[in-house]
């Protein structure tokens, strides 16, 4: 019985333990193995998503602030991660919440578009495993040539792995040197199909990037600091799935955007549920831009940003009236 105790035994152990509520030693007896092995199987079962432990994220929607934001911003749902006393690690807390929310949104048979960035990768990294069936995770934008710690394909693959889903990668650079080349590449059947398939997604996960020297598109070498500055002066307000957007949330009319291989904002907008996650307070302006463009339907933010958003929305309304 040394061969492949795997799946079958893990399943049985998980079943007896979690569904029937037996103790580990009882399970061990039933299965005629030692209790230590049972403990180990159960860990594997949790790690592979054979058992799902999920906490309701209702607490974070119940928040009055969240409700008001939903109304003010016309979003389907908002979750607010508290940033006070009882939080363990403020920086990952938003990601933990986002991961839970994400898992709650995913259903069997879904097709999920995933962008990239530190936030998305953090979420992928802490997300628990789940044993979904028939799920496809597609990469929303081209890859980075340079080695970078959280590449688009890594984000996609990691999330696919966690969901036990199929990962569809995108084998094209994020940004090319000339517009012609970008056009030509977009016309390639492999790429074209992938791009066309994006609007078939019913769930998207992404964050928004800043347009300063700290922006991930700068750090990864897609743009230089000075190029970015030029773009900023030209109206750049944020980065979504590798593309520059202006304050209205529209794709900025610039050479860089035309050289990018990524999901069109239009096809992104066709996706039913679009979950945007913003971790840093410094992303406030980009976030406003993304919201202005109606780029997301579901939002996860920290309490401080949430408050600023509400203040801002209130101010705008007041000014308008």
């Amino acid at each position: 019985m040394a061969i492949r105790p795997a799946e079958q035994l893990i399943h049985k152990a998980a079943w007896l333990y979690y569904a029937h509520g037996l103790r580990q030693d009882e399970v061990a007896n039933q299965l005629k193995i030692s209790r230590a092995s049972v403990a180990m199987y159960l860990r594997k079962a949790r790690e592979t998503g054979i058992v799902n432990i999920s906490t309701s994220t209702q607490l974070f929607t119940d928040d009055v602030l969240a409700r008001r934001l939903e109304d003010a911003l016309k979003l389907d749902a908002v979750w607010i991660a508290p940033e006070n006393a009882y939080v363990v690690d403020p920086s990952t807390d938003i990601a933990v919440l986002a991961a839970s929310v994400f898992l709650e949104l995913v259903k069997k048979g879904d097709r999920i578009g995933v962008a990239w960035g530190r936030t998305v990768y953090t979420i992928a990294d802490i997300m628990s495993f789940a044993d979904l069936q028939d799920v496809t995770v597609v990469q929303l934008c081209g890859n980075l040539g340079a080695p970078y710690s959280y590449r688009p394909d890594q984000c996609t693959m990691e999330i696919a792995r966690r969901l036990n889903a199929k990962g569809l990668n995108f084998y094209a650079p994020l940004v090319l040197s000339t517009e012609e080349l970008a056009r030509a590449l977009r016309a390639e059947p492999v790429i074209r199909e992938q791009l066309a398939g994006i609007s078939d997604c019913n769930l998207a996960l992404f964050s928004v990037g800043t347009v300063d020297a700290d922006s991930h598109v700068v750090k990864c070498g897609a743009l230089t600091v000075s190029e970015m500055e030029v773009l900023r002066n030209a109206g750049a307000a944020g980065v979504i799935a590798g593309q520059i957007i202006d304050a209205a949330g529209e794709a900025l009319d610039c050479s860089y955007n035309r050289r990018v291989i990524s999901a069109e904002l239009g096809s992104l907008g066709a996706i039913e549920k679009r979950l945007m996650v913003v971790q840093e307070d410094s992303k406030f302006e980009p976030l406003l831009a993304a919201l202005a463009g109606g780029l997301c339907t579901h939002l996860v933010v920290g309490a401080r940003v949430a408050q600023r958003l509400l203040d801002h929305a209130g101010a705008v309304t007041k000014k308008a009236s």
Copy 2:
């Protein structure tokens, strides 16, 4: 801090413990309460469905037998509870599986029709709690006048309670003494609406009853042993939601059926997912009848019954060819 530690604290504790993976004493520190309280909150969190622990039921669909049955019977999904060595309690095992399957099928916003019987009640009884939102559980058939251990309204309410859903009961007797009265009652607005609302359900849970002296409709006094015998001779093959069906799965043309207040088989059939659970081996014939009528789309049975079903289906096919 002695007042209403409730919801809020429970949520926080559950969040820190399950989502962040802190230890109970760490949670206790964070929340400035004793570890014992944390343990107690966590239990409550589990009991109320604030955290969900669910085991994948894939093991039971992966079974080759299940797959073959799905094909042979043209069902959407079949789960087979093993009835051998490693099972704890053969009689409840099917119910435990059914409960898991049921919870896996329920989604936010669903409207669920629930019939009654020992099987359904057992499922309700062992089903873990879940914190669904916007879910409505409706009773599929009239109530029993006589006190009986598992009444239709109990089944409905218990399941509603477990799901934290709204329960819609049916305040009419299951069976009346005359056809006229039944007709009149069905025409009553309250009742008519409820009956009409049944086809709006997207999930149904029921079992099938036998047509012998042990049948629950006999035990609850809706029919006498001799009446049942007459019906059996007239072609009765099973009981679904309080109604008698023949071997083809059609409602039997008899006075009893006309005196019953219950979901029409037609509106039942309009429900997208219809989960039928059969615990006892003795329900084989009624099960065949229900299957013949295409009354269910999802099936949970024990291994022995499953095998007999497959043999039977094979024999029929062979005979036909």
